[in-house]
């Protein structure tokens, strides 16, 4: 196509001809900027022109708007350089030319004056060069001097000529563009005016179409394809809008021609730039809608390909095809059935061919996604044509079908001349495909496979499968189920995987049909089972498929199918709920099953195989009852209910697989093995490995997880199984009761569930979560527990005997033999009875129990008890309180060893003494004796102390109730324990001194004090053994008299008699009546020997014989611990006391009161002073214990009256350093007197100290 803007040339034709070649060459060389109206962006364009000779016919007449033939510029050429000649001929010519132009209203003109040196030289009488040009300008270009151009020496190669060429060309371009702008602008305005008239009755779209297309052509001519495309798009949109308005009831008259019956459906034609045939049809107003659309699209396609946008073509093509079908329907155009399919099919292929024609293979493959839609569309259309023309039916086309085919082919018309020679033209393809069944199949398969391949290549698996599925339908129609199966299976898998239930149902139905034809009995049955349980189907369909199963069940060989299609497990419940039973016990398992079949099913047998494993440790631990299963146990529910997770029925297996499993949490408690105290507790997630596994972020379609059919199921024949026979399963939930075998101890796990309907077996190969129960066997056990928290010694206490019989059956005559001990007799009670409990804790019976006691053993005859029961009875026992050993508070014996009290030791916290009592029992089931230890606590704690008043002595006994029980206490008696004659050295007690009377209630933690005065006849024995006894009974005891039990406390008193009495007197300084602070006072201490030394005592006392007088050495010490006194001078000393009654020694000391008020006397202590010679040499390595007891006197001087002490207000301070220096030397020893040996007269005395009179004057100045 060589459409170029027309430029006319007038004037000297030969001159123009000589210049034409170079002009046509040079004009498009440089681009020119084209500024445009209406704010459109400026463009650079290369101008070309078609130079023609000026003729008057070329000028457009009024009303003719053809732009293609419109001369945009008129040029007048002249090379006149002679004034005369100009005046004679050239001017006239120009005038004529101008007037013609003016007549037609054309203002786009240009006069070119060509100058040449050669010509100038020929003429001698030349005017100055410019004059001609000036004349012309003068004559013609009134104000537009630029309308006249000089071109000098155009045929010469000189810079001057080049310059003039350039300026000429620029001028030419500028003027051309100006003309374009002006003329196109005018044209567009006219066009718009025409468009505005579209509501007027006579308006015709076709006319308007032609006008606007003219504009498009011009743009195309100017290489402005984009703009050209816009024109077509506008036309497209306008037309579409009219059609839509028509649909909305607003019809335009001119649309009538488009509503005519479609007679030709020859498809798009894209091989020509302009389909003149169709264009003429449009021009004549005879085009059908398809013609118009086809033409419009072919133009758009051409332009798009010019613009190198082939993929937009495919996209627009698809839209166009959809749209056309839509519009024909909207306009209610009558179309022969199938004609549109033909049109669409041909068009799709035509577009594809066109695209293939302008792209290479690699490009095509890379852009499958753009073309695949057309492929699919073509496939669909061919398929529907095939169905329409009876090419798919097994019998082949009928005569009616053939007639229809002929009609359709007729509408295609003749093949276009462009494609006659190509073998693969769409026309030929369609012709061939519709001509025979085989050819159709070939073409259809070819298209389908091509589309599927493309879809697969771009990863649109779903679309690919959808085509596959329609292929499968095709194969099924053709009676070729083998081929259909693969496609169906593929689709079904993907639908199941993604959980689209309707599709699953639909495809499965097709699958069933396919499998039926293929005689795949097992698969067919499985599919039928799935369909029978499919809620998406109607009742009738489901019954039909169920019937299929029943039919097979009565004839076919055994077939195993998956249980999932048949029924769903809902829950299992054990009874008893713990699912732990002993051997031989009854265990029932209730299974809830949701039957998916549409009608009631008679199941001959429902069996669950069991896996048996011997589990040792667990069963025993559980049987003991001490170790409860913490948390929820393996069943997930505490009450023995196992719930089966339900995948949503809608989503099916695929969804179940894709959802994360629920958290399975268990409580965990860690108890310390020794005292079962809680160490730690926590929550454990059992299925962490499943939850923390990495999940694919998107489900991959390429590998569907769940198959359309569950994997083949194998029936395994376990040795043991749960069985239920002849059950009728109603649709919906059913409950089935199994009795579980409990013959062997161990753990039983349910493995497989199998239901048989005739020969058909429905098998669930795994039961998850794991369901298991345990059977245990238990050894008989005997435990003895106290009824209360603590057993108290001394009073009868009840203990509970518990016998867990385990596997042993207690027969008549079986007895427990308890070996008696003296300290703990078993009390007889006639009304002793035993209760028998079953393993679940239910009361079975109550039997009498006979207890026979001989000297050695107590025999308890047991009532007969079946195995795995518990026998309980209570007995009363009494633990005697052992007599308290001597002086339990002084633990050091003379040999320095700590005394160990066998059996009894104090409890650390409560101070209660407890006694471990061992009981040895012979049980009938064992040849060995059972040794059981019971702990009794002594309820009381006793303490004694000795009190003195001068020579008189008192014994105080404090009895504290350390138990939690309240007691009555009666008859406290203190006796002397002597086996010799002088018994009555002690007399009666003085307890009544307090005015309280016995029996007395002693509450928990209360103490009772009793006081006795000691009187003796001659000498007080050096060592006195006493026993305190009282009787007590719990306050709660019913029979107070019989319940009173004795309590006894024995103790020993040593050296009780008073040896010395100590009297202190504080005398104020002379002349003063009272002591004053800061003033020295005299402290006079007199030590008096009270008693004659007895023989036994004398040995103990260290005495020395000096001049016939026996003396002992005492050391005294004045210590003031309360900082009241300052001892001045020596504070301690050693005195020698004669061993005679009433021997007195006085010591004078000076003390100074530090405070005023009633001050207590400073403490005065007296020790026995044992000189070093009397003591065996003290080992240097003697432990510090000894040093504490015997006060070292290092800092007090060693001489008798040593004045070592200065003012000492505190107690003596040992200097460690000096102590070490003196280590090796023999040292005197101090020994304290035992309590009661020294009587302090002045204990508690106080003396009045006055403050010092204050002589100081305080001056107070007031200003």
């Amino acid at each position: 196509m060589e459409n170029k803007p027309i430029v006319t040339c007038a004037g000297d034709q030969s001159l123009f001809t000589s210049l034409y070649t170079s002009l046509a060459q040079q004009l498009p060389k440089e681009p020119m900027e084209w500024r445009r109206s209406y704010g459109r962006a400026p463009k650079m364009i290369h101008l070309e022109a078609n130079f023609v000779q000026f003729k008057e016919e070329l000028l457009p007449k009024d009303g003719n708007r053809a732009l293609l033939t419109f001369p945009f510029l008129h040029i007048y050429w002249t090379d006149c350089c002679d004034t005369e000649m100009y005046k004679v001929s050239v001017k006239d010519g120009m005038l004529r030319w101008q007037s013609t132009l003016r007549l037609h209203g054309s203002v786009d003109w240009l006069i070119v004056v060509v100058e040449s040196e050669a010509k100038k030289k020929n003429k001698t009488n030349i005017l100055p060069r410019t004059s001609i040009v000036d004349k012309i300008r003068n004559d013609f270009c009134n104000k537009q001097s630029d309308r006249c151009v000089v071109l000098s020496d155009p045929l010469k190669e000189s810079s001057r000529s080049q310059d003039s060429w350039n300026s000429f060309l620029t001028k030419l371009r500028t003027l051309l563009l100006m003309s374009f702008t002006k003329n196109l602008g005018r044209f567009e305005d006219d066009m718009r005016t025409l468009r505005e008239k579209r509501t007027e009755p006579g308006w015709s779209f076709c006319d308007y179409f032609m006008v606007q297309e003219e504009l498009a052509f011009v743009f195309e001519m100017l290489q402005q394809f984009e703009d050209a495309l816009v024109q077509y798009d506008e036309l497209d949109a306008l037309f579409t809008q009219y059609v839509l308005n028509f649909g909305a009831g607003d019809g335009a008259n001119w649309l009538g021609s488009f509503c005519a019956t479609v007679k030709r459906w020859s498809g798009l034609l894209l091989r020509r730039p302009i389909d003149m045939e169709k264009r003429e049809l449009i021009q004549r107003g005879e085009a059908s809608l398809l013609d118009l659309r086809s033409y419009l699209f072919s133009r758009q396609c051409t332009l798009l390909i010019f613009l190198q946008r082939p993929w937009e073509v495919t996209q627009r093509a698809l839209e166009l095809l959809h749209n056309c079908v839509q519009e024909l329907r909207l306009l209610e155009v009558s179309v022969v059935q199938g004609a549109l399919d033909c049109w669409v099919f041909l068009s799709c292929l035509e577009v594809l061919h066109r695209i293939e024609g302008c792209c290479d293979r690699a490009q095509l493959e890379a852009n499958c996604s753009h073309t695949v839609g057309l492929w699919t569309y073509a496939t669909e259309k061919l398929k529907s044509l095939g169905y329409l023309c009876g090419l798919v039916a097994e019998k082949g086309p009928t005569s009616e079908d053939l007639n229809r085919t002929v009609d359709l082919l007729a509408g295609l018309g003749e093949e276009r001349p462009e494609t006659v020679n190509s073998l693969q033209s769409p026309y030929k393809k369609l012709n061939e495909a519709l001509s025979s069944v085989e050819a159709f199949e070939k073409h259809y398969l070819e298209l389908s496979h091509a589309a599927m391949e493309m879809y697969r290549a771009i990863g649109r698996m779903r679309s690919s499968r959808l085509i596959g599925k329609s292929l499968a339908e095709f194969y099924m129609k053709k009676g070729d189920p083998e081929r259909a199966e693969g496609f169906l299976d593929d689709s079904l898998r993907s639908y199941v995987a993604e959980g689209w239930s309707l599709q699953v149902t639909h495809t499965r139905k097709q699958m069933a049909e396919c499998q039926k034809l293929l005689q795949q009995t097992e698969d067919y049955l499985q599919t039928s089972a799935l369909l029978a349980g499919d809620a998406n189907l109607t009742e009738e369909e489901r019954k039909h498929f169920y019937q299929v199963i029943l039919t097979f069940a009565s004839q076919a060989p055994t077939v195993a199918l998956s249980m999932a299609a048949f029924a769903q497990l809902r829950q299992m419940q054990f009874s008893p709920p713990g699912a732990v039973v002993h051997v031989g016990a009854a265990l029932q398992l209730e299974l809830r099953v949701r039957c998916l079949m549409p009608v009631a099913v008679q199941v001959e047998q429902l069996a669950a195989t069991l896996h048996f494993s011997l589990e040792q440790g667990g069963a025993r631990g559980r049987a003991g009852g001490t170790q409860r299963r913490t948390g929820q146990g393996p069943q997930g529910q505490g009450d023995g209910v196992v719930l089966f997770p339900q995948g949503s029925p809608l989503a099916g297996a695929g969804m179940g697989a894709s959802l994360p499993p629920a958290l399975e949490l268990y409580e965990m408690q860690d108890r310390s093995p020794s005292d079962s105290s809680l160490n730690s507790t926590g929550v454990v997630c059992k299925n962490m490995h499943l939850l923390l596994r990495r999940h694919d972020s998107s489900a991959s379609l390429d590998t569907p997880t769940a198959g359309a059919l569950p994997a083949a199921v194998a029936v395994d024949d376990g040795a043991q199984m749960l069985r239920a026979r002849d059950i009728t399963l109603q649709p919906g939930d059913n409950s089935i009761l199994f009795t579980a075998p409990t013959g062997e101890p161990g753990s039983y796990t349910l493995r497989q569930l199998c239901g048989s309907v005739g020969r058909v077996q429905f098998v669930q190969s795994h039961i998850y979560p794991v369901v298991q129960y345990e059977v245990y066997s238990q050894e008989p056990q005997l435990t003895i527990e106290p009824l209360s928290d603590n057993l108290l010694a001394g009073i009868p206490q009840k203990v509970k005997f518990t016998i867990a019989t385990g596997h042993y059956s207690v027969k008549k005559g079986d007895a427990l033999q308890l070996s008696n001990t003296d300290s703990m007799p078993i009390l007889h009670s006639s009304c002793c009875s035993a209760t028998i409990l079953s393993s679940t804790g239910e009361l079975v019976g109550e039997r009498a129990l006979s207890v026979q006691s001989s000297e050695k053993v107590t025999s308890i005859s047991l009532p007969p008890t079946p195995p795995y029961h518990t026998l309980e009875f209570q007995l009363e026992v009494l633990c005697h309180i052992p007599p308290t050993p001597f002086k339990p508070d002084i633990e050091r014996l003379t040999n320095g060893e700590v005394r160990h009290r066998p059996k009894n030791h104090s409890q650390a916290d409560s101070g209660m003494i407890h006694i471990d009592q061992k009981v040895s029992i012979d049980c009938p089931w064992s040849i060995y004796s059972t040794l059981i230890s019971l702990t009794f606590y002594v309820p009381f704690k006793a303490k004694h102390s000795i009190l003195s008043a001068g020579k008189r002595k008192y014994i105080q006994v404090c009895l504290q109730n350390v138990s939690d029980t309240n007691f009555h206490l009666a008859d406290p008696v203190l006796t002397e324990l002597t086996d010799r004659a002088h018994t009555s050295s002690l007399t009666r007690s003085l307890t009544h001194l307090f005015g309280s009377s016995f029996p007395q209630t002693v509450c928990s933690q209360q103490s009772v004090f009793c006081l006795w005065e000691m009187r003796w006849v001659k000498h007080l024995p050096l060592c006195l053994q006493c026993a305190f006894s009282a009787s007590f009974a719990p306050v709660s005891a019913s029979d107070a008299h019989t319940a009173f039990k004795p309590y006894r406390y024995e103790f020993q008193l040593d050296r009780v008699s008073t040896l010395y009495s100590l009297k202190a007197e504080i005398l104020p300084s002379s002349g003063d009546q009272h002591c004053r602070t800061g003033a020295l006072c005299g402290l006079e201490v007199s030590i008096t020997r009270q008693a004659e030394p007895s023989e036994t005592e004398g040995e103990e006392e260290e005495s020395t014989e000096i001049e016939g007088l026996r003396t002992t050495k005492l050391m005294y010490e004045v210590v003031d611990n309360s900082s009241n006194w300052a001892v001045c001078g020596k504070s301690s000393g050693v005195v020698s006391m004669p061993v005679a009654a009433s021997a007195t020694h006085r010591v004078q000391m000076e003390v100074m009161p530090l405070f005023a008020g009633h001050l207590p006397f400073p403490d005065i202590k007296v020790f026995k002073y044992l000189p070093h010679s009397a003591v065996p040499a003290i080992q240097p390595d003697t432990d510090s214990c000894l040093e504490n007891d015997t006060m070292s006197l290092l800092d007090k001087g060693l001489d008798d009256q040593g004045d070592t002490a200065s003012i000492r207000s505190r107690g003596s301070i040992h200097s460690v350093g000096s102590g070490e220096q003196q280590r090796g030397l023999p040292m005197p020893r101090l020994e304290p007197f035992s309590p009661g040996q020294v009587f302090y007269w002045s204990q508690g005395r106080q003396v009045l100290v006055l403050p010092v009179t204050d002589d100081h004057v305080m001056e107070v100045n007031v200003t």
């Binding site: 959809h322 529907s384 679309s463 695929g654 959802l659």
Partner: protein, 169 residues
Amino acid sequence: MAVCIAVIAKENYPLYIRSVPVQNELKFHYTVHTSLDVVEEKISAVGKAMADQRELYLGLLYPTEDYKVYPSHMIIVYYTPVCMFFILIENILLYRHTRYGYVTNSKVKFVIVADSSNTSLRDNEIRSMFRKLHNSFTDVMCNPFYNPGDTIQSKAFDSMVSAMMVQAS
């Protein structure tokens, strides 16, 4: 307006699907399912850019021509790549304890199939329909008794979808 509205889970199974001509349900299911191809393609093609722009609307994506019952449907897909915080307050009344929330990049898709003979449907109308659908869906997710991943059985959601479909006819 809309003839079929579907909510599709991240794993591509339908959370909710409803179509107006019930007798042709299967066809809609097939259509919606197949359209997922294009959805996935678009998601993976634009991927991150889309998430950044918060542009959830994928636009018209899958035109088909159906010549049997319903002439032609355009399928428009709405896609929610935003991170949604689903706080699982499971059985709050029963146990009174809150479980930890988790963040899921919820690739839930909404698909609206519109009757293409209804040409008055504008792009922003579709957008507003999707916004409504999204809001309603969020309400469903906020229901403490709703388990994410379950099919939607909510009266409110149902009535909202019905309203959008009634608007159509």
